[in-house]
């Protein structure tokens, strides 16, 4: 079997794309159920609120799931591709992958639209990565090693 210290919380690269597709789709579909359920409930007239909520869920929740799923799966795909090309893991991977995803999803809107949404996605991912870095640094600062207190040279308080 494997080495005990190996990190198995995240699966290796080619197969993790499927995992991300499914996870993002499930997140979007279940979140879309909640979102469009509430929205359909609130936007329906009295007496048809339940059926309005169910109709909204039926019509829109799978679409939200599909949008999330395609985004997450494409992001994972590009992330793995960039990892295998660059052979290192840092924040630039996610930013570049976000750039590619934004461009790919806007590919039918023309070059200008592609570039704009690619840059937008890259900026969003850059903010995510930056916030993650700040947070991890803050956590590391909170857990920083503390120096032992210097023993009193003039004698211990018990002796005084």
């Amino acid at each position: 079997m494997s080495t005990p210290e190996a990190d198995h919380s995240r699966d290796p690269c080619p197969i993790v794309i499927l995992n991300d597709f499914g996870g993002a789709f499930a997140m979007g579909a279940i979140g879309g159920c909640v979102w469009h359920g509430i929205k359909g409930f609130r936007n329906s007239p009295y007496g048809e609120r339940g059926s309005g909520a169910i109709n909204a869920i039926k019509a829109r929740a799978p679409v939200v799931g599909g949008n999330f799923g395609v985004w997450g799966g494409l992001f994972s795909f590009y992330d793995c591709a960039i990892k295998s090309v660059r052979r290192r893991e840092d924040a630039w991977n996610a930013i570049l992958a976000g750039f590619m995803v934004g461009g790919s999803l806007a590919v039918r809107g023309g070059r200008k639209h592609m570039f704009n949404s690619a840059v937008t996605c890259a900026c969003v991912l850059g903010v995510f990565e930056g916030v993650g870095m700040l947070f991890s640094r803050y956590m590391a600062w909170a857990n920083k090693p503390v120096a032992m207190p210097i023993p009193d040279q003039q004698g211990s308080p018990l002796a005084a």
Partner: protein, 229 residues
């Protein structure tokens, strides 16, 4: 450098140092482990228990983190629990649905290509520009593909959630769980469309679950492991 060079390089430091400098001055062609550690680098010599001589391992999960429900292993991928099952199942089914729907849309698009029109002035056929054809085909692909993918993905989510719930309630997994969750998810999917639609969709989902069980058995038969009944 200090442990990789094999037999020709002994521990005498007076000999190794000039050679090392000489190597450093050479232009770097490619940097990987074998060029850094010497030509006859053998990873299995580093530590015999580390298992470094194996190929890349896909999904080599730790034993204590695996799914503990009896019979839940599917023989294809190891699983850490219901989350893994749902993510991989949904992802695979969604991608399959997207692919097949896209192919169907491709077919539809080629079937309904815009026809060249008769020019009233010159009385000749106006050719259809390529961009228009491409747009027609892409429209059909993006109409059919996501629809099929979304439908399949939602079905897979419901199936996997119900399947894992049944597993946890009963404490074991077998084919009856799969069939029952297929039936329930099919019925739930069409639950607002009347009894006939419910019957059709639950039958289709039960057959799909049965074929999934058969596929698992087939794969497991090749692997030589066995399943719960």
């Amino acid at each position: 450098m200090w442990f990789g060079n094999g037999d020709n390089n002994t521990a005498q430091s007076g000999e190794t140092l000039p050679k090392q400098q000489q190597q450093d001055e050479e232009p770097k062609k490619s940097e990987d482990i074998s060029s850094i550690l010497g030509s006859d680098f053998d990873p299995s010599k580093l530590h015999p228990l580390a298992g470094l001589d194996k190929e890349i391992e896909y999904l080599d999960l730790d034993d204590e983190k695996l799914n503990t429900i009896q019979g839940s292993s599917n023989g294809i991928l190891p699983s850490r629990g219901w989350g893994d099952d749902m993510c991989y199942g949904t992802g695979a089914v969604y991608v399959l649905g997207l692919g097949f729907g896209g192919l169907q849309g491709l077919n539809e698009g080629f079937k309904h290509l815009p026809q060249p029109k008769l020019d009233p002035v010159t009385n000749s056929l106006r050719p259809v520009p390529f961009k228009l054809k491409l747009n027609t085909v892409l429209n059909q692909v993006t109409k059919f593909g996501p629809h099929a993918g979304n439908t399949a993905g939602v079905m897979a989510i419901m199936y996997n959630i119900i399947d894992s719930s049944l597993d946890n309630i009963r404490g074991q997994h077998d084919d009856w769980n799969s069939l029952a969750s297929g039936w329930i998810s099919g019925a739930l999917y069409k639950s607002t469309s009347g009894l006939k639609a419910i019957g059709i969709s639950s039958t289709v989902m039960t057959i799909a679950a049965a074929s999934w069980c058969g596929f698992k058995r087939l794969v497991a038969g090749n692997n030589g492991s066995s399943f719960g009944a």
